[in-house]
Point group: C2
């Protein structure tokens, strides 16, 4: 019997990639408006390259952008970027469509809920608290806080232990086939791939680890119920054979 449903955070509960794209575009636009002597497309492409090299949690994106564009250091342009970036992030932080409904339905149906996510612990908690998602979840597991990252089996094992369930009593829902689906499957959890956002067509070599694939979170409750039914049938089958 499934007792716990775990969710990934970024691009599963929170619409992170879309927000990040808006924030980056607005940042470049505001830098150009405040005198950055480069056209929007050139600067935006350079920023995307920089982020793919240094990662999205690098704290000096705009500083480095100027260096890459052979421009002198200029705190006014950097501030213009930072302001627009933060304003966008504050104003447009949203859950993925259907999140609150599915969480409420799962809770009402008696399942306990957890989050298993990578990323900076304080930034991840900022998203959870700003969106007031914390009330839905019994536990939140963040890799950078635990010292181990998805898909390493240890983060899933820690989560299962803390929630006091066996792997087969837990489902993992996430948008990444590698970190979420392959990771959870390794330890014996049930897996639901949420085909959404920029990973919708990536890491398909791990597709075999997904027990189910959904295009909308609305489907989750039925799938979890389905898993319980299947198990019930298997058990009945065994009982029949045992007769």
């Amino acid at each position: 019997m499934i007792k716990v449903v775990f969710f990934d955070l970024d691009d599963t509960l929170v619409d992170t990639s879309r927000l990040a794209e808006m924030a980056r575009r607005n940042a470049i636009e505001n830098m150009v408006r405040h005198g950055l002597p480069v056209d929007f497309d050139t600067a935006y492409q350079e920023l995307l390259e920089l982020i793919s090299e240094y990662g999205s949690n690098f704290s000096r994106h705009f500083d480095y952008l100027l260096r890459r564009l052979d421009l002198p250091s200029n705190p006014k342009w950097v501030a213009a970027g930072v302001i627009a970036y933060h304003n966008t992030k504050f104003a447009y932080l949203r859950t993925v469509k259907g999140v609150r409904r599915v969480l409420l339905d799962l809770q009402r149906a008696g399942y306990r809920l957890g989050i298993i996510t990578d990323g900076d612990p304080i930034k991840q908690w900022e998203k959870i608290l700003r969106l007031e998602l914390d009330a839905y979840f019994d536990e939140v597991f963040i890799s950078d806080y635990l010292g181990v990252k998805k898909p390493h089996r240890k983060i899933f094992e820690k989560a299962l232990r803390k929630m006091k369930v066996e792997p087969r009593e837990a489902v993992m829902v996430g948008d990444r086939l590698y970190s979420d689906i392959y990771g959870a499957k390794q330890v014996g959890m049930k897996t639901v791939w949420f085909r959404y956002g920029k990973y919708a067509d990536r890491e398909l070599e791990y597709l075999e680890y997904a027990d189910s694939t959904v295009n909308s979170l609305d489907e989750i409750l039925d799938i979890v119920r389905g898993l319980n039914l299947e198990e019930g049938e298997e058990r009945s089958d065994k009982e029949v054979h045992a007769d």
Copy 2:
């Protein structure tokens, strides 16, 4: 003749201290609301002590607060503090009463304007751009960008050189008797002490370096005009004697 008026930024143009106090109080309140097991006053006093030791630009205030309170590291509480702190700073950033009026009046009267401030360049530009103060000023001089801090004479000399005026053609307006008033006087500028905020009764041993003291920014235009009149009279006196 006075040609340029320089202003300090924090607690002269921008109501920084009051904002910081509100932001810190709201941060602690939100941390307590999210489970910080300490009463408001204890945590707030500890935060103030920490800030006085590590400075207000230290980036790990809330982390260190937990350590000082003998509490385990907890990214949820830190995030609660960060959220409330930033929300307050975004929502309540204000100019000091009368700022826009005096800047406009000085501009109309033909004076050029500059900012000479200490602090992190990006954070200072963030305040300037968020409040849309940049349009009033010809130049902004920020110590951490120039590598020299008020009251060092070099920052004032750099500013005078860039604005192409002699020291006696410039006035410095600021809330700190030591960094603003003593600093500017050293190089021969005229000085107006704005007695405001937490420095209103501090560093009084430097009071002799203030040519004038004001309790409201509304008085600045008259004072600058007065300085020009005095100089005019001195010149007439000399002319009379020369006859």
